[in-house]
Assembly symmetry: D2
Homo-oligomer: 413 residues x 4
């Protein structure tokens, strides 16, 4: 089963926006292979506009000339990805990543390049052109590159099949398709699903941006491996606080193969395209809170920071084996209650035992008492705190001192 547990990897967006280069990708892959792979981290994802030669930060330049083959398919910009020369695409990069025991992911936008429609270039495998399948009024609100494809048009299927045929040749293992989830373009998702199924390679399908509409939860669990539950997530407490509500709403939909996605982890050296000194604005406690919430709700984990600049705190944050065991082997996660500044979650460990997380969303440290019975825990327990590794015996009441915006997460046996 593909994505039996939540996918874990690195993504270039938070640190490089639209401007990542091949060198950077390789360096991050090297780091992951050496320091993170043994904890389950495996995907290296090249985010948006690898086909745009002049991209240099998180902004998009309208009407830029994009690297494209004769069949209206975008190609890596050779000035940024030298190994893509002569139409080689991501093949060499994929081979390198695979040689490290890792997997290659790429980002694409729904649709066909606008320049293809205006230049009227060909579609592979059928005697039609971009104009025959492009919808002139189906555009992305925030990116200028593409027109949507009319899923009912002749040629639409051939176009999407030709894309994934190419990606399979390159050795792609993971595709993040953008502009397709919040505005729910079901016809194009169906074409992509079929194209993946037909391409001869196992590829994880991730869709963006969020918030994906919850009324389609069952559709997502049938057709995609992960779907965003939020717009882009950044290193701001208000966004992290807001995630508790989203997590509560979506947590029952995390099942093997299919996971609601709380978006990247903006930790460590993010925003490198603006400054080499840039660093996450989250406090350490907030980062611990984020990791704990993502793991108990079973969100995919995609690291947003430049890996080679990881400090000890960040590395520890990403390699807490006890926490990742919860990510991989728990179920029945639920918010038990939210009262004043306290949020309590529980989950069940499939191999025995339960988890209890106590979050302090106040701006000051708080001593918090939790009546275990009101969480459904009515016995006596051996308690193990996953971050401090402290052990205790508990009954009826748990009393903890928690830092501002912090958390304690216990395993109860």
């Amino acid at each position: 089963m593909l994505a039996k547990t939540p996918p874990m990897g690195w993504n270039s967006w938070d640190c490089y926006g639209a401007s990542v280069t091949e060198d950077i990708v390789r360096q991050n892959a090297d780091y992951m292979a050496k320091h993170l792979k043994q904890y389950g981290w495996e995907y290296i994802v090249v985010d948006i506009q690898w086909f745009q030669p002049t991209a240099d930060n998180h902004e998009y330049k309208p009407f830029a000339d994009l690297a494209m083959d004769e069949y209206s398919r975008l190609l890596p910009a050779e000035n940024r990805f030298p190994s893509a020369k002569n139409g080689a695409g991501f093949k060499a990069l994929g081979e390198y990543i695979h040689s490290l025991g890792l997997k290659l992911g790429i980002h694409i936008m729904r649709g066909i390049p606008r320049q293809a429609a205006h230049r009227n270039t060909k579609i592979k495998g059928i005697d039609l052109t971009a104009r025959d399948i492009a919808l002139p009024n189906s555009i992305c609100q925030w990116n200028p590159d593409m027109y949507g494809v009319n899923p009912d048009s002749k040629g639409a299927k051939e176009y999407y099949n030709s894309l994934f045929e190419l990606y399979a040749e390159w050795g792609v293992d993971f595709v993040k398709v953008d502009d397709i989830a919040r505005e729910f373009h079901v016809g194009e998702i169906n074409l992509i699903r079929q194209a993946i199924d037909n391409c001869g390679r196992e590829i994880v399908l991730s869709i963006s941006p969020g918030a994906s509409p919850i009324e389609h939860a069952e559709y997502f669990k049938e057709n995609v491996n992960m779907w965003r539950i939020t717009d882009d997530f950044w290193d701001r407490w208000d966004l992290l606080l807001d995630m508790f509500e989203r997590a509560q709403k979506w947590c029952t939909h995390a099942v093997p193969g299919h996971f609601p996605d709380a978006d990247m982890l903006p930790v460590g050296a993010i925003n490198q395209c603006y400054s080499k000194d840039a660093w996450t604005k989250f406090t350490k406690d907030e980062q611990v809170t984020m990791m704990t919430l993502w793991c108990i709700m079973r969100s995919p984990l995609m690291i947003g920071g430049e890996l080679t600049k990881c400090d000890e705190f960040t590395l520890n944050l990403l390699t807490n084996a006890d926490l990742l065991e919860m990510l991989n082997n728990s179920w029945c996660a639920r918010q038990v209650y939210r009262r004043d500044d306290t949020i309590v979650w529980t989950a069940v460990q499939k191999n025995g035992g339960n988890y209890l997380a106590v979050f302090n969303i106040a701006d000051e440290a708080k001593i918090i008492s939790v009546e275990l019975t009101k969480c459904g825990l009515d016995g006596e327990y051996n308690a193990f705190e996953l971050w401090s590794k402290d052990k205790s015996v508990l009954k009826e009441t748990l009393t903890v001192n928690i830092n501002p915006h912090g958390v304690k997460i216990f395993k109860f046996d």
Copy 2:
């Protein structure tokens, strides 16, 4: 702990409306003691208007003269409850019920009798009268008996304390307070909570009618033992179907001592005040579905039918020990998905194992396949169906043939 598991009992409303009599109550208590008590059934609840001498069905007669003591407190109508003569109240009835090993419940309306305000009768324990605490514009939309009490008025506390002092004298174990939950009268609930805490007797507090506002869920879990999540529930499929959504919304709030209440079970001989031949209009499958849903979501169970007329089917329905074990010892109930005509729930048995319920809400029998992995169950299991007692070994997929409006509920070990 009071109500550590969901309260189970019998209530006079579905079969007798406002017109139940002492004889009937005693006969139902006798039946419960003999046939149901060993399964956990224990409460015998006298529902609305036991103080109204001329009540004869589910309707309320406006401006009727109600039995009342000098302190504005309603008393059992002596023509209907002979043992209440000479101001004895429910004392003798309570003693009888206790002698059977059962518990006595009564229904009350929020507020003070309108007739007390218009006659200006006294309040016990303070030199004030009904006019001092009654709110002329606080009425119940569907019952004409009471005015609300101003919780901030002098005398309000004394009035509610005097009520529960009386109920404690009578030996009451359970009070269902009406007209107080959907229109959320927090001031009066607080007074009642305090009056119970001060009365010297353990009394289960049940509030009605629903749907209680979910934004007060945490308040309910602090202050009441059960709260209605629906308006009156009757033997109609549309209402039962509707309960799945309510159950999904509320199920995480069922904890020891505090339970969302899906209302009475209209099974067997209901509506006896209209016809001695009246019988539930639910099919057998619908009744099994109802019992299964109530038990997996951990709703209190209150039988609505005349017990002495129970047939074999109904008795079996109410005494499925495997199902009641789930009611009492499961947690983490959740709706896994609802797709077309199938609804799937899971829960975790605290002593080991999991439950999986598959409901068929279609009007025809259906063969339904459930991918166990998408329910979070990714191993091989010994499966036990709780109604048929069939056993099997399952992996990956469960395929079942389910009757229209029916259910199969498995324990997986």
Copy 3:
């Protein structure tokens, strides 16, 4: 035709609340006859709770004993209205008011006294009692005296007929029925309409409180003479400012016999039940604005202040014959535009000429230019300002200096 032009009178509410007495009523009638009658003022209206012996301000005392006859009909409290002794009701007061050339109005609440239902008193003309027609859950939210009458019940028609039979005997010319318009009790309005038509006397029917629902505008124009378009209006600028929007919404519905009612004019000595020194908090400009808006939209005019304390400003405000000519003989009033702090209205004088009002809703004086063409006025005009009596000749543009919260209103010929 009754109420061919908007009714004009005095009402006791703003100055005395529920506590007005016969002496006061007579004194105000005397003043009106002497100073106001020649300008068209004619109604003297006794507002709410003339039947409550202990009323002393704008508050209502719950469960008070009300003066009532054997047929469940409320009577004037004899301690407050001495001439009502021996069941004489308002007959003597009416005769006095008529002797002055004025007309008598009274306020009533929809429904039947609660005390009648609880005491079970008779209904005139049919062998039924108050309990047979009272609705226990139909109450007024802000007054504790009455239960609504079930318009479909036997006896409802007889009850309302008996009321207006009595009022006709008393010589009542105007009835303001309360608790019946905003919560639109059409069944009871119909019974009142019929009772008036059957009572043998012409009685203006005014209904309260507002805002009356505009979807029933056509019903009002068929059945009542005036209906409130607002909740109680007081001497606050925010309420006056808000009236422009209400006036705009309702102005097309003012026709002979039927007028949207902007409520009383809180001018001069209001709130006399609290202090004999109390005075309107409106500035003079605001009062001029109010009078102008009421007159151009053709609202009924009911003076709220104690008449005997009128100062010169107030008397002039109420006796501007040019303005009252607009009230009585204009039509087609409309808000032309509202832009920044300027509101412009026009109306057509039936006997020739047009009106143009320019309101300054800013908190400072403003010089305002109005393009006459954009108001539909594209000729050259003789302009007459109705408050200052200034004359000018105008074409294309009007430029005026207007006080804060003030107005200039021109007649254009």
Copy 4:
């Protein structure tokens, strides 16, 4: 003053969609000059896509090559408008229309051609290109030709000025700007307003499509001459019925120079691009109702049918001098009431007298009585019906027999 009364003309959309040709335009102008001009009809408007060589009906072909000059300005397609050869544009056509005593109107879309942005063509008068002012995510939902212009960008003003400089050269008298009113693009309207003011020629500014947002009514009255109050209007009763509500909402905003626009009159030979036999589906009564409503609310009148095919009924419909007198010289139009199947409007004739229109919206003929007093008409009148020319004397009540979906409109003196 430009457009002192509502503009009257012919527009090619209803009969030819995007496909009108020069020959057709000239023939319709000839007809208007001969048969309609003396009644006030004067504008000949060439509607959408005169720049698209292959347009042949009401549909738009995406990504078509449009006729365009070097400065990104669209030009008439020479195959359709032969006199436009050699960059002459509409100059010759304008001269011809002016020679008939008529005026030339053209339709344009907000924005700059998408092909200009993708080809990166120049902007006149500044050293910038289309890419510098085009907004890639500002598109029209229903037409594929243009990108919106960023009103804050350098070059935006020069671009719009260059357009109207060209139109002034062509002799254009009327511009209908589309995709700019319902989605209210205030920045681009402002640029167009300024471009017109600077172009040295008086040009009526009409904006589309509707419904224009009423919260901007004052803006429209300052900046544009006519603005649509509805989406495209066609020959369907439901749309006509719906117009009463729109007319009621907007009628107070019709002032000299500025008129709410109820859209074209789909009368006579419409839809000629599909069939030369096509004819309006409106009944004769419905057409009379439409003309009456448009005239009493003072909407601009744009004929939608091929003029050369006008039959006698249609010609009479368009040349009722009494009705057009109301269009040109009335004010204070208002809906008096809508009750069951009757709608009544009044207006005031500036030169004396009033109008009263009685519409029957029922599907059967009805005898309708109108109480004149409830319309504000309380005298005795000489009545003249504008369609039948019948005369009568009326007082208090008007009783008329009206055809299904028909109207009678009286002038009262």
